[in-house]
Symmetry: C2
Subunit: 256 residues, 2 copies
């Protein structure tokens, strides 16, 4: 041990250093399209993700995740937030880090370690952007379609990992609220969960979520100023009770 080591004897340049630390963002949204027919009905929902067509080498012309290099003056999280704002024009959305990708030679430009985030964006924020699309260089793709495409870099793997992660979080946290309006019907909530997790099925869903003691408090009925239950008949003839999330985040356990 050389206790005389200090700032003046430290040589930072001894080793090879990375050529960049970008943030890449898997931006998810759920689109809803009205079903054909005159009767009121729930819309068709689909999980989509936003891709951009690369303009430069490498992978020019191929679809890729939005992202960009982080700077010395910001965290990678701030970088992702900045890129998200540039790509979608939205600031206040759920943005979460989930993994690092550092396989050697994953990027032909050099030693580039990518930090992957996912964002959950309500479709209402993306509507303005849609109109401003510059010749389809930015587009939403249904998740299944995106996974069947040949994406730039290792972005297919990143998308797959992100999808696995949000499927897990959809069932264990309240991220469903990111895809819903502040007030929603049980039917909408159920549909959003199923859109992300196709295997989810719960015949007595409404009872579990509203009257089971262990889950009580997760969502609550919305009432108007007079204390009367607020209803909506947007999707059905019979009006449905509106609910909102309470902010409670349940702790799960396999042992109890």
């Amino acid at each position: 041990m050389d206790s005389q080591d200090n700032e003046t004897t430290y040589h930072a340049g001894k080793y090879r250093t990375p050529d960049g630390a970008p943030a890449d963002i898997v931006i998810f949204t759920i689109t809803s399209t009205e079903k054909q027919g005159t009767k009121k009905s729930l819309p068709h929902r689909e999980l989509q993700l936003l891709l951009i067509k690369r303009k430069q080498w490498p992978f020019a012309g191929q679809w890729a995740l939005p992202g960009g290099f982080s700077r010395e003056t910001e965290t990678v999280h701030e970088c992702a937030r900045r890129e998200l704002l540039e790509e979608t024009g939205v600031a206040d959305v759920h943005l979460e880090y989930f993994n690092v990708y550092s396989t050697p030679k994953r990027d032909p430009r050099g030693w580039i370690i990518s930090h992957a985030f996912f964002a959950l964006v309500n479709e209402k924020y993306l509507e303005k952007r849609r109109a401003a699309d510059d010749a389809a260089e930015v587009r939403l793709f249904p998740v299944r379609e995106a996974l069947s495409m040949e994406l730039a870099f290792d972005h297919r793997q990143i998308v797959q990992d992100a999808l696995r992660r949000i499927r897990e979080k959809m069932l264990t946290t309240t991220i469903a609220k990111q895809f819903l309006p502040g007030q929603f019907t049980i039917g909408e909530l159920y549909q959003v969960i199923q859109t992300v997790c196709p295997d989810f099925e719960e015949p007595n869903f409404i009872r579990k979520i509203t009257s089971t003691q262990s889950r009580k408090g997760l969502i609550e009925e919305v009432k108007d100023a007079a204390g009367q239950p607020l209803m909506s008949n947007k999707y059905s003839q019979r009006a449905a009770q509106l609910y909102c999330f309470t902010g409670l985040e349940p702790q799960l356990s396999i042992y109890s």
Copy 2:
């Protein structure tokens, strides 16, 4: 868009690049020490983590997480695996990535983005190493004590985040097995969970884990060659049934 961009016109050196991408590892273990007294009893267990005393600038003389810079020829995960082997001499342990730390100026040596892992090491693997300690430059600290110390860099924050993460995973996955022998008693399992999650309490633990249908299959009774239940009286006069994990990883949901 300049479609003529290609490898020959790409200039990697235009921007400032990071000065390093290390992996830091929060190595957890649970020590068990025999209680005083002649009667057979469960040991006292304590969650500990391994720290090293820094020899060089910066933070020379202060305790820090083990770790080291990753190389261009390896992933950060491989780097962490390598460092773990160097520090503890063990290879086959649970090692998991959990976060990135990139706050500007977090490291006085420059722009250094750290990748944080946690490792769960059974104390039996650390026993050899303990003897080989070179003048207490490597030591186990009880988690509470480590969190009250002034650690190098932002390592206190990293430890806190790691602790929160393993507490969550202790209750939602079967990582408890990392701290247990292949065959264990219900009492041991219960104690390991409580050592990591002090708030965990489950009066009817044995019944839930062995006879509740929804949890059946998580662990199973160990039987000998003749099909007789294998028991252990290591901790008690009355022999206890030995169990092992089955490999099943339950999927939890707040909606069902």
